[in-house]
């Protein structure tokens, strides 16, 4: 009841990439891992870095920097692999750092503005305005979708 009165809440895992903070719904996150050895897959789609062993499951890992077209950055002790659900698959996403888990009221989320530094607005579900910063809510399904992957590789091959 209390929650109903307080309005819907969202719980987000917030991670850093470049200068931005991004949030994904906590229910989508299976696991947060330190950087580990990644086995490269030859001839794999561009942003698939390789696969890792997550307790006996083999999981593909994508580099979100590559996906967003951000410059490559060396991995640090803060680098994390966030393992998220996508349909029936688990997929690892490399991010610069995972900063916090946030509980926010749903009504502070605003629809994405069409122009946002560096990132295609189609990737976004909204922007949460907090006192100290903005957290960009990612549309994981779109970011990780095969269709998007193909679209990207098409663009790349056209450029070549």
């Amino acid at each position: 009841m209390e929650q109903a009165i307080a309005g819907a809440e969202m719980q987000l895992v917030v991670f850093e990439l470049g200068d931005e903070s991004y949030g994904v719904d906590i229910s989508r996150v299976q696991d947060i891992n330190r950087m580990q050895e990644i086995t490269e897959i030859p001839h794999a789609p561009e942003s698939v870095v390789g696969v890792i062993n997550l307790r006996g499951r083999v999981i593909p890992v994508i580099d979100l920097r590559k996906r967003f077209g951000l410059p490559e950055a060396p991995h640090t002790k803060d680098t994390r692999i966030v393992v998220v659900h996508l349909d029936d698959n688990l997929i690892g996403v490399i991010v610069d750092a995972v900063s916090q888990v946030l509980r926010i009221p749903a009504d502070i989320v605003e629809p994405p503005s069409p122009v946002l530094a560096g990132v295609d607005s189609r990737y976004l579900r909204g922007i949460a305005k907090l006192d100290e910063k903005l957290v960009i809510l990612l549309d994981l399904d779109f970011v990780l979708s095969r269709r998007e992957q193909e679209a990207i590789s098409e663009v790349l091959s056209e450029e070549v």
Binding site: T39, P42, H43, P45, V51, R55, G56, V58, P60, N89
Partner: protein, 724 residues
Amino acid sequence: MLQFPGMTEDDIKVFLAEADEQLQYLEDGLLDLEQSSEDPEVIAQIFRAAHTLKGSSATLGHDKMAKLTHSMESVLDLVRKSQMNVTPALMDLMFECLDMLRILNREIATAQDSGADITELDDRLLDVIVSVERQATSGDTMGGVAAGENTPSIGGASSEDAWEGQFTGSGDVHVKVRFAKTCPMPSVRAYQVIDRLSTLGVLVCSKPSVERIEAGDDVFDLVAVVEYDGDALEPLIETIRSVTDVEDVRVLQVSPVGSTRAAIQADAAPQAADAAPATAAETVTAKLAVSREGATGGAARTVAGASPSRAATAAAGTTTVRVDVARLDALSNLVAELVIDRTHLAQLESRLAEKHGGDELVSELNRTSTHIGRLTTELQEAINKARMLPIDNVFKRFPRMVRDLAQKQGKEVELIIHGEDTELDRSVSEEIGDPLIHLLRNAIGHGIEPPEERVRAGKPPRGVVRLSAFRQENYIVVQVADDGRGIDPELVRASAIRKGIITEDAAARLSDKDAINLVFSSGLSTAAKADDVSGRGVGMDIVRKNLEKLNGNISVDTALGRGSTFTVKLPLTLAIIRALLVSLGQRMYAIPLNSVEEITRVEKSDISTVGGSEAIRPRGEVVPLLWLGEVFGVRDPGGSAHLSVPGQKVFAVIASSHEGKVGLAVDRLVGEMEIVIKSLGTFVGNISGVSGVTILGDGRVALIVDVPSLVRSVVDERNAVSQC
């Protein structure tokens, strides 16, 4: 969308599981009946299957299936009572009905109305019944038997008055129970009555039998005989009355023991009335079965023989559990992880021992880790066994298929099956069916000759196709052998040249054995014309390709005029294979051992250039050399690039598929081990040159090299070059 009101999803699942079983009984029975005409045992089996299907489909509320099975049952009943003979026309009609039942069954499974109409079949069945009845009434003596069949009375106790006797002390008691016609679940109520009777005394027999009741037959009148040792009948009556929907209970004491049984038998089969009083319970069941089936002496043996097997099935049913495959898979995955951890634990333990040898804690850790290792191995074996199914699951659909194919082509074929109880992993049994169908079709279509031709060749007119399965180490081997015309290497050569698969020169150079192996290349068929049975020439190459994908293979052995034997070999399980581990710098790769031919060491001087690409010549044979690092685009500073230093050697793993061989240059051989194959998943998709991944003992991920695709890429490249 089909709906079955009042039925839960589980009810439908149970129905489907049972229906599949009954349809199979029906099919097996019909095939047997066709072979050994009018064996009463077989007829009884078919009848039971149709009857059970009728009951369960009616309960489910699938009217079409209930109606069709009812008509089938009526016709089968006539056959059972020898009022009509088994004719080819009748067999065809029955098979058509079976096909229809399968369609209807699929309707239920998919919840989609197939639009199939049973009216025509049902009318034909009714025609059969009408024609037989017309015969019977026109003065046939059989009519009497039919009339007697429908009077469900019991022995000397058929008069109602006889049921109200005086109780004189312990002994056999006759119990007759009638359930209300409105009773929704009479079989359940009947079972309750039987159950309560069993608590009060020893149940001697009942009509219908307990099995029937358990099978869910509708029972509105139940008669049972109980050895009752109570003082008065009232408690017995009260107990039965307390069961819901019981309309009427009558009890009668009959002594001595033997007379009761004799009375029941006398009613059912008059000729058995003077039989010696039965003492063993089985005999009673058997005799009762006779009464149930209402058949002649011949059927008695039959049904008595069938009852124990049904009882055995029922008994087996209580010790088995149906488990969702997904759960088994999850269990296998967990065990596979445990295996990996076990290896890691052993490694840690030995490192600890090196560091702190002699420490009490280390040796205790050693004991525990050894124990865990042993348990894990046992667990792995147990779970693998749990996933095993007899290959009969695959084989059981073949007799019908062979029958239909043979009939369609006017051939006489006998299918002999061996080793149907050979067990194999579920995953393999799912994959092995299609290749076998292909091989059987070929055996009948191409192998077995028409009867006249066989006779001319001095063979019996009926051809034999042998399907056998057995285990060979970690493989399951299935052979399809026919005694037909065999494969003529000359015909294959000619066909291959005509189709442009090889040149005339190349064909002439081929040995007969190699020429015969051309049947596995694409686009080749030796059949004079394509038909719907076999032979559009797109079969065998796909069969081979699919088998290789599963790390299996296929070979053929043939003798002109005497027949061909195709041998399919597959690993027992698709999840675990033996592989050779190799490394390139820090990276590990697994090469399936079944494709590894040999390993040689080569240095720069061993490598020659053929048509612009590198090749080596182990044993004088030219084998293209691939640098695994280049294939996989690995730029590893630690790895040996090309052999720049004279005298430096690398390992070349010679791997083969049916298309040829390829040498894979690697840095180091790590060893041979069992690996668990994991897919790369849909997100990454298919990667050329990689068939999957596996997790090594230390937790690292290694790619599994897809040898057939590497060989193909080399072959394609060579063809492209030669065409330029």
